[in-house]
């Protein structure tokens, strides 16, 4: 089996439905198609160059950022505005189709995750897989997330940052 698509922590495999492996190009297509995307940023990328790239991705498509764990402070210090929620709180809101979203304009239809603690992120993605048919999930981590609808593969830092740069690049 291609090691790039074995979940980073292999035992998070939950069942037959696995994430679609995506490149930055496919990820871009998903974002372009979405009406109300959202980015969820976790603490694993605190003080990481990926923060700036996420910020550029958010700016490029005007996507609001939600920070989880203690990512808020680190993002704020890096000049990246975000709204703070606990991971389980934001996932709980996202699974409610009636929720108005972080901008009050309606729930989101695409949620991009990056930097959330892997196994906990996997649990949150599982919630959305089972109970939020109204939205899609896409993970931009350097780890393959089988519970997402679409995920980047397992990668080393260098390749991962290139993926993010590609996604952040202004055409």
């Amino acid at each position: 089996m291609n090691e790039r698509v074995i979940p980073w922590q292999p035992t998070v495999i939950a069942g037959p439905k696995q994430a679609l492996l995506v490149t930055p190009e496919t990820a871009e297509m998903m974002i372009v198609k979405a009406k109300r995307p959202l980015i969820v940023v976790g603490p694993l990328i605190n003080d990481n160059p990926a923060q700036v790239l996420v910020s550029k991705i958010a700016e490029k498509w005007n996507i609001p950022i939600v920070s989880t764990g203690d990512a808020f402070k680190s993002l704020t210090e890096a000049g990246v505005p975000s709204k703070s929620y606990g991971l389980v709180e934001i996932v709980n809101l996202l699974k409610d189709p009636e929720w108005k979203g972080v901008s009050g304009e309606g729930n989101h239809d695409l949620v991009l995750f990056i930097g959330v603690i892997y196994y906990m992120g996997s649990q949150g993605l599982s919630t959305l897989k089972h109970f939020a048919p109204h939205l899609k999930t896409l993970t931009l981590c350097k780890f393959f997330h089988s519970n997402a609808d679409a995920s980047f593969p397992n990668m080393k830092d260098e390749e991962w940052l290139k993926y993010l740069e590609k996604l952040a690049k202004i055409d």
Binding site: Q9, A14, P43, K73, V88, Y118, S126, K129, H130
Partner: protein, 779 residues
Amino acid sequence: MAPKPKDMKDDFWKSKDIKISIGEIEEKDTKKMGEEVPMGPTPKPHVTDLRSWDMKLLDRYEPFYAPFCDMCCLCTFGKCDLTEKKGACGIDSAAQQARIVLLACNIGTAAHAGHARHLVDHLINDFGADYPIDLGMNIDIEAPLIRTLMGKKPEKLGDLREVISYVEEQMSHLLSACHTGQEGSSLDFESKALHSGMMDDLAREVGDIAQIVALNMPKGDENAPLVELGVGTIDAKKPVVLCIGHNVLPGAGIMDYLDETGQEEDLEVCGICCAAIDVTRYNDRAKVVGPLSKQLKFIRSGIADVIVVDEQCIRTDVLEEALNKNCAVIATTDKMCLGLPDMTREDTDKIVSKLVNKEIPGALILDSEKVGEVSVKVAKILAPEREKLKFLPELDEIQKMASDCTECGWCNRVCPNSKPMMEAVVAASKGDFSKFQELYEYDVCYSCGRCEQECERDLPLMDFVTKVGEHFVKDEKFSIRAGRGPVQDVEIRRVGAPLVLGDIPGVIAFVGCSNYPDGGKEVAEMAKEFLERNYIVVATGCGAMSIGEYKDEEGKTLYEQYSGDFDARGLVNMGSCVSNAHISGACIKIANIFAKKPLEGNFEEIADYILNRVGACGVAWGAYSQKAAAIATGVNRWGIPVVIGPHGSKYRRLYLGRADKKDNWKIKDLRTGKIMDGEPAPEHLIYAAETVEESMPMIAKLCIRPNDTAKGRQIKLNHYIDLYKRYFGVLPPDINLFVRNDKDIPITHKKEVKDLLEEVGWEPREIPQEPSLMGLDGD
């Protein structure tokens, strides 16, 4: 075993207000088992009797499901994939998650109930069914859970049998509901899980009370002795017997045998997990190695000559691991027989001979007195022989073996916390052991051993961690206050008002296991923070041990720095897993002693009181077991919220409130009968935090209650704001939800809070005098 003489340290009268306590105790001592008392609506509640209360909770704190598995594989219709579809039996994903949670709670409850049943039967056998339940002069409400749920006061050991029989009966119904084709509603599964958790709480109270009274453990003694904790406290030159698990009886048998034969100075008796805590409650000469996270490392160290296992949380490969170290294993309960021959009826010397001559791989001995004698004799014979053996590779050998690493990285990937094992091995191959040392300290690597199983070069990675730890961290010597058991009634009288009114900002209970995301130090640091902030901090089990494994700059543990009083800035080690019953018990006592709420058969009124007025919050940062699931669910039913660590998300279910839905927080003011807007306090019932930084302000927030006075609310908000600002750099964005009027605003943050209130268009609101969920729709 023989009853021990009464320890006069139990007499607290010298330090307490005798006059007031005696008067009140005498007045209240009326409700005996079998004696008629004014009875509330729900004595001995059946599975469905508290369903309406559960639905109130579940309406406000909706279950949040995070499936760990998409499938159901419980019957031969399956496997069924439940992703956005139903299974062959008709179950959907939400109900299946709730069913698995109920199953987990039932497993946990059965573990505690089985443990309690064993203790009660054994102790009745030794001491008689008429042995009195006497927790000393400062504890009149000796069994708040039993009184509330059974509607009776237990007078003697024999009374506990009725309680445990009731728990067992309820468990049959609850387990039955998990069968295919029974319950179909996720909410009803949750109601049953809450019932199961409450049965767990009850079983734990039975178990702990039985062992406290019969084995003369500390009876709410705030000055319970400090006992030695840490690998460095074990004198490896002596024969060493290690007890692992939760049941005190085998360990007590060992201590008794040593005392009776005058060998107490000749051997080291130590323990891992709750057995350690309970053996030190029985006899403070025993030592605590540490929490569950020490288990494999300590076995691999080869220090123990004999390992005595009882029940719960023991590595199931303990026999294989022990045999690798030429160490004898004695299994002691029906819960864990390990395939060993039953030697219970054999002559003691014959068992010893068979064990030391390796005629049997280990022995099953279901008699704790015999366990005492056999383990001591075997340890004394094996110790000199084992002294010559080498159990761990030397550092230069580790360096050589480490150079075989292919750097495949799978050790990191299978590590539950993705810790950098590969990097440690690579560094070790160059003679740098610092990364292994980092993994060893505070059990950052909690030695599950998954990495070793995965290693394509079969490198003994746990041996590496253990050896480096042994070499560089020689002075692991700490202390822990022996588990004191329940809170005294006089303490409740002292703290009842300040707690309910909010002057003491809350009770934080650090409980549960050591499945920490980043080592045990985080728990100790959390405890320290809340102690410094004037909270009452209580602890049990592995959490209590982790707190003891931390020293300040002066080399003192928190137990040496803070008193064992149940009071502001008190650090109270209540004891083992079963002692968790005293945490909900303390909250129940507040409702009874402070607020005069009757207990007998009166669950709902008590739980409603706790939910709305007692600022208590559990923290199970490393919860991993089914028992922890049952404990958390049990305290949730009493209205006590719990924060769990990130691994807790794997329990599949949380109870989360929605602060954005104003109608969810309606309450009734029982004083005026008016239904009014409330506030999200407590906001969640069980919440998984991703990081410690996230958890700290959340813990403070979950101590807020609608009943707080303005002064109390100011104090609580001050801590919430302070912690939030520390970890997030800004004012909590939801602070407006918890400010009822200007008087609630903490003086130190007045301007910025007022600015925020103005920005969000905040309006003051009425404060309920007696907030309650009772009397709302459906009642």
